[in-house]
């Protein structure tokens, strides 16, 4: 019936071409449950939900407020003074705490990269279960299929299960071990190692985060060591000369 009405009104209004006021079909659309709001929606009628915003406490601003004189801190003592928080977990009441009694040892390399390891046996298992499409695997696919659970600084392909590896797979990762490369190419696949910085990894894994904005460019490696590594055909780096990579592949095949 509603469809009929819509058709009728369309016919009628088309007949009356050039007459400006045509009834809306909103009320006859869908279940007809879209009704205009009781108050018009415009810039003069906006408000947050009641109780959504809590007013800030104004401490120590006079007796009229109720939090004037001692500002809710009671009378005198350590807790009434400023700058005192609750004791931290390592605090031992003023006694030299354990963390200070023991000597420092070792160091943390701030520039080290943590690659997520993916072994060939796991990759093969994922492909055989249909959780990964072997024709073109990126690190984002590995993450989406939960083959890895997080990308820290990238993914490194490792060779556990290289003897049984027999799926032709085309994959792009941050790094790959020599044995893993050899095993994949022996099975008829290919590996590309590509450099991503933190921003690049985020673009690959969560492009929707950019929303309205255009995506940033992908960075080239900055460190000399990285440049060398990704330019080395042995590593199947993306900066290496394609002909050199082909030569390296042929050499590996001959062996």
């Amino acid at each position: 019936m509603l469809a009929q009405f819509a058709k009728l009104s369309l016919q009628r209004t088309t007949l009356r071409a050039n007459t400006a006021s045509v009834q809306s079909i909103r009320l006859f659309s869908g279940n007809g449950n879209i009704v205009p709001p009781s108050q018009p929606i415009d810039l003069g009628n906006l408000a947050d939900n009641p109780g959504a915003v809590t007013e800030r406490l104004r401490l120590g601003r006079g007796p009229g407020y109720g939090k004037g004189k001692t500002a809710g801190r009671g009378h005198k003592g350590q807790k009434a003074r400023s700058g005192n928080g609750p004791p931290r977990p390592w605090f031992e009441g003023g006694q030299t705490p354990l963390v200070k009694r023991m000597p420092k040892r070792g160091f943390v390399n701030q520039h080290a990269k943590k690659y997520q390891p993916v072994n060939l046996e796991r990759l093969q298992h994922w492909i055989q279960e249909g959780r990964l499409d072997s024709t073109g695997i990126t690190m984002a696919d590995l993450l989406d299929s939960r083959c890895i659970h997080k990308i820290e600084d990238g993914v490194k392909l490792l060779a556990d299960g290289a003897e049984e590896f027999n799926v032709p797979v085309h994959i792009e990762v941050s790094r790959a071990s020599q044995k893993a490369i050899a095993a994949i190419e022996k099975a008829g696949g290919s590996v590309t190692c590509r450099y991503y910085n933190a921003l690049g990894l985020r673009v690959v894994t969560r492009p929707e985060k950019w929303g309205f904005r255009s995506l940033p460019k992908f960075a080239e490696p900055v460190k000399v060591k990285d440049k060398e590594w990704y330019s080395d055909p042995k590593n199947r780096g993306y900066l290496a000369d394609p002909a050199a990579i082909e030569a390296a592949k042929a050499e590996a095949k001959a062996l």
Binding site: L10, G30, N31, I41, D48, R131, T138, S214
Partner: protein, 254 residues
């Protein structure tokens, strides 16, 4: 030019990175899933597709309910508008404190024996010509709003337009032949003849339209990539091209 094209990632990412929207794992599961039953919440809403210069309806089109028939959340609109206006603030207001005011730093009077109050500096806030205590200084007023709330704001604003019959979908804006304000004025007066203010949204940037509307205070032109809640609410009616509407739907539906 539009942001949705920018979201079409295939062309921007390296060839090996471009991938289908669904991971194979998800694709596998989707093939097992049965079709979702038709509920009132999934049914599309309908609208007329009209001619821009005469306002006469051409056909009936279906719109995504999650974009144009969403529940109207006044609080979300308020939050988005406040956020936008916060970010619009220049933050250049400035006053001079006691350290910035020009003048001597000499002690105003001797410390003792005067029978009056001590005067350390003549530029203290309580002196005439002194600095301002806790006055405004240039700063950034911008705030953050979760991305999902921003997108929800757009959905609510568009739904409000639809619910109030303020959404006019037109097939094309090409009916405007020249960049003359007079011609646009004539179209708006004859076809959309009421006193409401009008926001026109074209699919591609339209220099003709922008020129014609430049001097019409009741009429604004907005690019698809500039869409925002504040502009939508500043104007009563929204006249939008069908192609632009399709892109919006694709971006906002969920």
């Amino acid at each position: 030019m539009s942001f949705i094209k920018q979201l079409g990632l295939a062309s921007r990412l390296p060839a090996t990175v471009a991938r289908p929207l669904l991971a194979p794992q998800q694709r596998l599961m989707a093939s097992y899933a049965t079709e979702t039953p038709a509920t009132p919440f999934t049914q599309p809403v309908q609208s007329f597709l009209r001619k821009f210069d005469t306002n006469e309806p051409l056909s009936i089109i279906e719109l995504e309910r999650s974009v144009f028939g969403a529940p109207i959340r006044r609080d979300i609109l308020q939050r988005v508008v406040v956020w936008q206006r916060d970010n619009l603030r220049q933050g250049t207001q400035s006053t001079k404190g006691r350290a910035d005011v020009r003048g001597t730093s000499k002690k105003g009077a001797q410390q003792k024996g005067r029978g009056k109050a001590r005067v350390g500096s003549m530029r203290a806030p309580h002196f005439r010509g002194g600095g301002i205590a806790f006055g405004p200084k240039p700063r950034d007023h911008s705030t953050d709003l979760p991305n999902k709330v921003q997108l929800m704001g757009l959905r609510v604003a568009l739904s409000a337009k639809y619910a109030q019959d303020q959404l006019v979908v037109v097939d094309s804006l090409q009916a405007l032949k020249t960049p003359k304000t007079k011609e646009l004025q004539r179209i708006l007066d004859t076809a959309h003849a009421d006193n409401s203010s009008i926001l026109i949204m074209a699919n591609e940037p339209d220099a003709k339209l922008e020129m014609a509307a430049g001097n019409l205070s009741r009429c604004g032109v907005l690019g698809l990539d500039e869409i925002n809640v504040l502009s939508l609410l500043k104007f009563d009616k929204l006249i939008i091209e069908k192609e632009a509407l399709d892109e919006l739907e694709a971006f906002l539906k969920h």
